[in-house]
């Protein structure tokens, strides 16, 4: 009877407990959220950004977008969408209210329109630089939509005679230099000065030689060679410029280890790559999917940048030192996944992704994890490591596998001269350089602390050794003295033993 009661109680309790287990979070994301650990394995991580809502052209009240090609968030928070298929620019204020729609401009009394515009940049003054692709020109408009100037077919002796200018993406730095990515240009990014004169190329992608192909070519006929792919550098796919005037450029090159570049004014790649692995999006991928193909890049505050992988529909965010911070997005039909993502932007803490296939904008808002990471990275970037520590601790509560947080805490502890603890954190974060520095300091500390003890023990040992030697010396002396008397004894002894008395 009692046993039965016990059983009953047990079942009731177990049922209760099973119901007490929390249901999966309501805000479950429609994509896998993960990060790569030191061993280059994808490990699950809390989502850093979750889809908030999507906006179509209809939602905004301007009619559906048709193949939108680009989106820009200006410094003042205004949002501009390049609606390529409808050949118009939709301008919104930061509250998603339609401000105006630019369908054309007035060129010296003549009304002109765009033809398949696919790129846009808005500078600090609010001037619009529109890559009017099929018209082969860059149109510069004032904030009111008046034509300021145009950059048309450039003329230069380094350009081929049959060259046709097809601008796709455009970016402008503080010195009003205009950088253009054009179709069919393999020499790099085209650079124009403030008056629209073509000055040259920056940041050429290097050609890698494929030796198997090379050997293959040696044995092939002329006709076969003509059929083969030419070895030309890859084209850039997109550009962005940061506050210091450095260009961030992405290129689509399947075999490249450096699809993202940060170009200094003289065109050298100066991107910091201090992370565990190359900055190329997914370091592990299914062969059917292939590697990441970056089609857009957005420079975020505090040295971070987000790159949009069109192949997998993911957004990879890195900090200034090249550590992968988080990944969100995916391919699919749900909210928060994309068909053909073309642009990633950053607006008031949220990230926006423009989907060409769906013709909508997905708004992602940061989670507690994401905003903590962003804030901590910001503190670290500005050299305020001590303030980053509580945030890193918060991050570690949410994700104990987050190596960057361990390293961040380690660096702060190193500043505070708590070397032993710093060593522990660097080891957890697998940061060997940091560990080495902390260890060296800790070792010196220990040595200084125990130098007295060490010296004392050495002195004692030396004294003991000397005493031992002296003792041995005396003992030998006594033995030799005894040996001097030995012959007598021996003779006597022998005599005794032999029985001679």
């Amino acid at each position: 009877m009692t046993a039965k009661n016990w059983l009953l109680a047990g079942t009731v309790l177990s049922l209760l407990l099973s119901y007490a287990v929390p249901a999966p979070a309501a805000g479950a994301v429609p994509y896998e959220s993960y990060n790569y650990n030191y061993w280059e394995e994808a490990v699950p991580a809390p989502a850093a950004y979750i889809p908030d809502r999507t906006l179509t052209g209809k939602d905004l009240g301007v009619g559906d977008f048709l193949d939108p090609g680009d989106m820009v968030v200006a410094a003042d928070g205004r949002i501009y969408i390049v609606d390529s298929g409808n050949s118009r620019i939709v301008c919104l204020d930061s509250k998603w209210k339609v401000d105006k729609v630019i369908t054309g401009f007035d060129n010296g009394g003549q009304a002109e329109s765009f033809k398949n515009p696919s790129g846009l940049y808005v500078n600090a003054e609010g001037n619009l630089f529109i890559a009017d692709t099929d018209n082969g020109r860059i149109v510069v408009l004032s904030p009111d939509g008046e034509l300021l100037r145009m950059i048309e077919q450039p003329e230069s002796d380094i350009l081929p005679a049959d060259f046709k200018f097809i601008p796709v993406k455009v970016t402008v730095d503080q010195a009003e230099r205009v950088y253009v990515i054009a179709k069919g240009i393999f020499e790099g990014i085209m650079q124009f000065d403030e008056s629209g004169q073509f000055i040259g190329y920056v940041g050429t992608n290097k050609v890698k030689r494929d030796y198997t192909e090379y050997i293959w070519r040696m044995f092939s006929t002329k006709a076969q060679k003509a059929q083969m792919a030419l070895f030309v550098p890859t084209e850039f796919s997109n550009i962005d410029v940061d506050a210091k005037g450095f260009l961030y450029a992405t290129n689509i090159d399947p075999g490249s280890k450096e699809p993202i570049k940060r170009l200094n004014p003289s065109g050298e790649d100066v991107l910091k790559r201090f992370g565990y692995f190359d900055i190329l999006g997914d370091i592990r991928y299914r062969l059917v999917d292939g590697p990441s193909k970056f089609t857009d890049i957005k420079v975020l505050p505090n040295g971070m940048y987000s790159a949009l992988d069109a192949n997998q529909g993911k957004v990879f965010t890195y900090n200034d030192e090249g550590d992968l911070l988080y990944v969100y997005g995916g391919k699919g039909n749900q909210t928060g996944t994309f068909k053909i993502p073309v642009a990633v932007e950053f607006s008031g803490g949220n990230q926006l992704v423009l989907d060409r296939g769906k013709g909508n904008i997905a708004v992602f808002k940061p989670t507690r994890f994401g905003s903590s990471v962003n804030e901590a990275v910001g503190y670290h970037y500005n050299g305020e490591d001590a303030q980053a520590v509580p945030l890193w601790k918060e991050v570690l509560k949410l994700n104990a596998n987050y190596d960057i947080a361990y390293i961040g805490i380690g660096k702060s502890l190193l500043m505070e001269k708590d070397n032993k603890e710093a060593m522990k954190y660097f080891k957890l974060g697998m940061d060997r350089d940091g560990y080495s520095v902390a260890f060296k300091r800790y070792r010196r500390e220990v040595m200084q602390e125990h130098f007295g003890t060490f010296l004392t023990s050495v002195m004692i040992l030396a004294a003991l050794w000397i005493a031992y030697k002296l003792f041995g010396f005396w003992r030998r002396k006594r033995q030799t003295e005894a040996l001097k008397q030995a012959p007598h004894n021996l003779k006597e002894g022998n005599a005794r033993e032999a029985g001679f008395h």
């Binding site: 061993w39 080891k427 060997r432 350089d433 560990y435 080495s436 520095v437 260890f439 060296k440 070792r443």
Partner: protein
């Protein structure tokens, strides 16, 4: 005991020509010492992979397996001895299989002597000092190869050139042995599969 296990191996490290001669003709080499040395090498390898300092240890601790490490030392050792014996019997070598084993085993002494102290030292090293660790590890390997060379030369009474040739051939033969081994294994697998299938077909006949 002390003579066999400690004095003679240590003497061999620095006087290889005399000692290998003694090993062969004076009966100073002992098989039990050889096997002990092999075991010590396995242990030092395990210690190195498990306990080397963080700055020089790039192993994933989750995938360390002592049994696997035992085989990665013992299997090549016997494979080498076997291949070398196979080659040298055809090429006028004087060494018996036991002597080849002893020569190879005794050549491993520097590995035993250097690895463990270096592993301990590496735990007290900073980044700049790790170069010394790598240097010592390379010294151990080079020393081992040099001793092996002298050992094979003395055991078989070869000239220098012939020793080099046989050693290279031994490596080739090792490859062939591994290849044949995998071939045989896969054949056996196919055969067992075949018989299992026949058995199943007989079982399911109605």
């Amino acid at each position: 005991m002390r003579q066999d296990f400690i004095k003679f191996p240590l003497h061999l490290m620095v006087h290889p020509f005399d000692s290998f001669w003694d090993l062969k003709y004076e009966g100073k080499g002992k098989l039990r010492v050889t096997l002990t040395l092999l075991l010590l090498v396995v242990i030092s390898m395990i210690l190195k992979n498990q306990f080397a300092g963080f700055l020089v240890n790039y192993n994933d601790p989750r995938h360390l397996n002592s049994i696997t490490q035992l085989f990665t030392v013992v299997f090549p050792f016997f494979l080498w001895c076997l291949s070398n014996w196979a080659i040298t019997t055809l090429m006028g070598g004087e060494g018996k299989f036991k002597e080849i084993m002893m020569a190879t085993g005794y050549a491993l002494v520097p590995v035993v002597v250097i690895y463990t102290p270096m592993v301990i030292a590496s735990r007290f090293m900073a980044e700049e000092e790790t170069a010394f660790y790598y240097l010592m590890m390379s010294v151990a390997s080079i020393w081992f190869v040099a001793l092996l060379f002298v050992g094979i030369m003395t055991v078989h009474q070869y000239t220098v050139l012939k020793t080099v040739a046989t050693m290279l051939l031994t490596v080739v033969v090792m490859g062939i042995v591994v290849f044949l081994g995998t071939l045989v294994l896969s054949m056996l697998q196919q055969i067992t599969e075949f018989f299992i299938n026949i058995y199943r077909e007989l079982i399911f006949r109605t």
